[in-house]
């Protein structure tokens, strides 16, 4: 097949999904939902058009958190649960970067659960992708914060006694401006949701139901998703309505809705934008390095 090179308005060749693929072989099990997420992300980033080196991709720990390594962007596979704070440091240090965060349900809603509310309330301009498989896969099949009540795993051999976290409801209640859900069972839909989330100028959350083929439940596999999933659009959902979003998010765990639950029609300025305005306003007060200590000088004698 002949290849053609599309030239972008800036004069450089258009990116293709291959430009984002590091070629490193994923550690994931064959059939893992995360392969689909990775492919969807390659496509979404291609559509966005930012050069790989202008992107920082931060993750925590878990199967899904290996994802930055399979891309050509700047990646940081950090520690369990702390990807959001690290990503905010990256974004504030260099707001020109496109910053994406990925992790699993344990990373985001168990060990790192305390950070989500704060990333949301600051309206950090980052895209947070949670690959939610309702189980701990990397450590071989323990309960996760989104595991359904009653689930039998190796750490809950008699069945879980705990209700799961509802990630969608949490993040909506925290006040996020963009909340969506998808599944790799719907590649075109997931890809466009990822693209929309990345383009959203503020904190964007995408919960991707990404099946674990090894430890996940039967009804959480891609085949089951294909029959269970319902697009929010087909329900006549209005993504500008917070009350509709909250109402439908309550069905997490029973229904598999895909699409945008909520999108703030008037996004406020993001944290880094506000900070940049403050920096610009105060820049003229900067002292040369040699005068920084002058603030602590006590003038002697009659002052």
């Amino acid at each position: 097949m002949a290849t053609t090179t599309t030239i972008m308005p800036g004069g450089r060749p258009a990116l293709t999904p291959k430009d984002f693929n590091s070629g490193l072989k994923p550690i994931w099990c064959p059939g893992c939902g995360d392969f689909g997420v990775l492919q969807g992300l390659y496509r979404a980033l291609t559509a966005i058009g930012r050069e790989p080196h202008e992107i920082a991709f931060i993750s925590g720990i878990g199967c899904s958190s290996r994802i930055p390594g399979y891309t050509t962007v700047y990646g940081f596979n950090s520690v369990h649960g702390r990807a959001l704070p690290i990503a905010q440091g990256v974004k504030l240090a260099n707001p020109d970067l496109l910053v994406i965060v990925a992790g699993g349900d344990g990373d985001g809603f168990s060990i790192g659960g305390g950070h989500v509310a704060h990333a949301v309330r600051r309206n950090a301009d980052i895209t947070y992708i949670v690959m939610d498989n309702q189980v701990y896969g990397l450590t071989k099949g323990q309960l996760s914060p989104t595991s359904p009540k009653g689930l039998r795993t190796i750490t809950s051999p008699l069945g879980s006694l705990e209700d799961p976290v509802n990630p969608l409801l949490y993040v909506l209640a925290y006040g996020a401006g963009f909340v969506a859900q998808s599944t790799p069972a719907d590649m075109p839909g997931m890809t466009s949701i990822l693209e929309e989330a990345i383009r959203y100028p503020g904190f964007a959350f995408v919960n991707i139901q990404s099946p674990c083929v090894t430890f996940g439940q039967e009804d959480q596999q891609l085949r089951a998703h294909k029959t269970r999933m319902k697009t929010l659009a087909s329900l006549g959902h209005d993504p500008s309505s917070m009350s509709q979003a909250l109402e439908r998010a309550r069905d997490y765990g029973t229904e598999l809705y895909t699409g945008v639950f909520y999108r703030n029609p008037e996004p406020p300025l993001s944290h880094d934008r506000l900070i940049r305005l403050r920096q610009e306003e105060l820049a003229k007060q900067a002292r040369p390095r040699s005068q920084i200590l002058d603030a602590y000088l006590q003038r002697g004698g009659a002052q």
Binding site: Y74, P85, A286, S290, L293
Partner: protein, 589 residues
């Protein structure tokens, strides 16, 4: 007979509303304006407002090295609060003990504590204030007037300071405080002390002096170094670092993030460093405990990061408002895996500036977290010092990959120095995967034992040049002395004075103060200890943590003993001198 002294230690204690700290600050301002050297420490009860408060002001015609030992002058606005400070306000028979008349004569507690001053002066403070100012609110100004009259503190500077302080309060308040100050001075003149003691006039021309605390100098050092990001969580006694940067950093294009917790604070700072900016966090012991996991990440990802621990009494909440040097083990050893993190320790307010700059330089040059171990005393005491010549300071930047180093880019390339050029997001051709997982030179995950051993060696070897840095050690006294002192952090200020006192007694003695506390520069200590038969390692911790670390890495001569005591029990130079004399005579325990 009027004795003139060149060094005066004053201590004031009262309840929260008595304004003793405010009096101390006015005194400090006036003394520094006159060209004296002065230092002030504050101490409070645990209450958020009110409760007991005290301050110590030490003034001298020479450089003040520490808050001093027994008080020359003690001012008790009431006895209960005064005695709550115990060893922080120690008395001697020579102390001039002044108390508010209404408080009554000294209670039995004074005798029970051991030392009863021979000169106890009762002053009708409230009465004087009411008569002069028409209100008891100007009590602080009367206290200042008394101190000025009795001990020869220049009244003009005090008055200038008070006028500046009350400038916004209106003419009435200004006049009332003027009258109160004058009334204090007049009372002192009308009631001379039995054995007067007057501060010698300073020969130094009134000139510009620095007056600030250690947390100020830490923040200023960070700004000087070009810090672009601070992430942290409020914790006593480090919070003022964040407070200062929250005002200043924006001007320099940086940002402060008051994070949701200690972990997020260091996490965001590490993210900023990953993004190519100079970044720091500051905390105290309990916060350090929470930051430990991400410190490990910084080590393995080889990212520069400055982490300040302003030590307080511990463990746990401990005594948050008082100093201790008991987080050295934590700083050196609270790591998972084989990790070497340089630890730098300032010893006074002034050198906190340079040590902070050095910490950024070491962090950026060696791509490593650096821990700055300050402590509550240095961090929160106010001190005068001569302006710092910053033109001699070098500010280093991290090694960035260029040209062929990007074709292809190997983030963790094993170089001769162990230092690999460090790229950052935004740099074309430099993309890599940072990770907490062990990795090969390219940054790809690896669980190979061979790779792990090589990378561990790289991460240690790159720091070896630090051990050759003689400028990170202060060695003073007689270089071939058989008697030695070793001290670090705020205790070093006491050791310096003890060194001078001991040499004044004709002893051949020397002092080693490490600014680089860890890794232990074995050769520096071996050379220093070569002539030594006896000595003391002075530090404020129950275990004597530096002493034990030195014994771990070096051959400490048998006659060198640990002189360590728990935090919140300040060392008295005279007492340390006695212990030094005892070990010199072979009778030290």
């Amino acid at each position: 007979m009027n004795a003139t002294v060149d060094d005066l230690v004053l201590g004031l204690a009262g309840s929260g509303g008595d304004g003793v700290v405010s009096a101390g600050e006015s005194l400090l301002g006036a003394l520094s304006a006159e060209g004296y050297h002065a230092l002030m420490t504050k101490s409070f009860g645990p209450q958020i407002r009110g409760g007991e408060s005290s301050c110590r002001v030490r003034v001298s015609t020479r450089r003040v090295l520490n808050p001093g030992g027994e008080l020359d002058v003690a001012f008790a606005l009431n006895w209960e609060d005064f005695f709550r400070f115990g060893a922080e306000l120690p008395l001697s028979v020579d102390t001039v003990l002044i108390h508010e008349e209404q408080a009554g004569p000294p209670p039995d507690t004074l005798r029970q504590r051991g030392t009863v001053p021979t000169q106890i002066v009762s002053v009708p403070l409230v009465a004087i204030t009411k008569q002069a100012a028409g209100t008891d609110k100007a009590k602080t100004s009367v206290v200042l007037g008394l101190i000025s009259g009795w001990f020869g503190i220049p009244a003009e500077s005090l008055q200038r300071g008070l006028r500046k302080k009350f400038a916004s309060k209106g003419a009435e308040v200004l006049a009332a405080n003027d009258r109160a100050l004058a009334a204090g001075i007049a009372y002192a003149e009308a009631h001379p002390l039995e054995r007067p003691r007057t501060l010698e006039r300073t020969a130094a021309a009134p000139g510009s002096k620095m007056l600030c605390d250690g947390n100020d100098m830490c923040a200023a050092g960070a700004l000087f170094s070009g810090v672009q990001f601070f992430g942290g969580y409020p914790i006593t006694p480090s919070t003022e670092i964040m407070q200062t940067l929250s005002k200043e950093i924006w001007k320099y294009g940086g940002a402060v993030l008051q994070a949701e917790d200690e972990i997020a604070g260091i996490g965001a700072a590490l993210g900023a460093s990953f993004a190519g900016r100079k970044a720091m966090t500051a905390t105290s012991g309990p916060g350090m405990a929470l930051k430990t996991e991400i410190l490990g990440l910084a080590s393995i990802a080889e990212l520069p990061l400055v982490v300040v621990n302003v030590q307080r009494g511990g463990p746990s909440t401990g005594i948050p408002t008082k100093p201790e040097q008991a987080d050295l083990f934590q700083a050196a050893f609270s790591a998972h895996g084989d990790v070497l993190r340089p630890i730098l320790a300032p010893t006074c307010v002034a050198d906190t500036f340079g040590i902070t700059v050095e910490a950024f330089n070491v962090a950026e040059r060696y791509q490593t977290p650096v821990i700055v171990l300050s402590d509550q005393e240095i961090a929160q005491r106010k001190e005068t010092f001569d302006p710092i010549d910053t033109s001699r300071l070098v500010v280093e930047e991290r090694l960035c990959p260029v040209g062929s180093e990007l074709e292809p880019y190997l983030r963790f390339r094993r170089t001769a120095t162990g230092i690999s050029p460090l790229s950052h997001p935004g740099l074309a051709g430099g993309a890599y995967q940072g990770a907490g997982i062990e990795h090969n030179e390219k940054g790809e995950p690896s669980s190979s034992g061979v790779v792990h051993a090589q990378m561990n060696a790289k991460r240690f070897d790159k720091l070896a040049p630090l051990l050759e840095r003689r400028d990170l050690f202060e060695i003073t006294g007689d270089l071939d002395a058989p008697l030695a002192l070793v001290s670090w952090g705020s205790s070093a200020g006491v050791a310096r004075e003890v060194l001078a006192l001991a040499r004044g007694r004709g002893l051949s003695v020397k002092l080693l103060v490490p600014y680089l506390v860890y890794p232990v520069a074995e050769r520096v200590y071996a050379e220093f200890f070569a002539s030594v038969r006896a000595g003391l390692v002075l530090e404020l911790s129950h275990q004597g943590q530096l002493f034990r670390i030195l014994r771990m890495y070096t051959d400490v001569p048998r006659g060198v003993r640990s002189l360590a005591q728990s935090g919140a029990n300040p060392f008295r130079p005279a007492e340390v001198l006695e212990r030094l004399l005892a070990v010199a005579n072979g009778s030290g325990s």
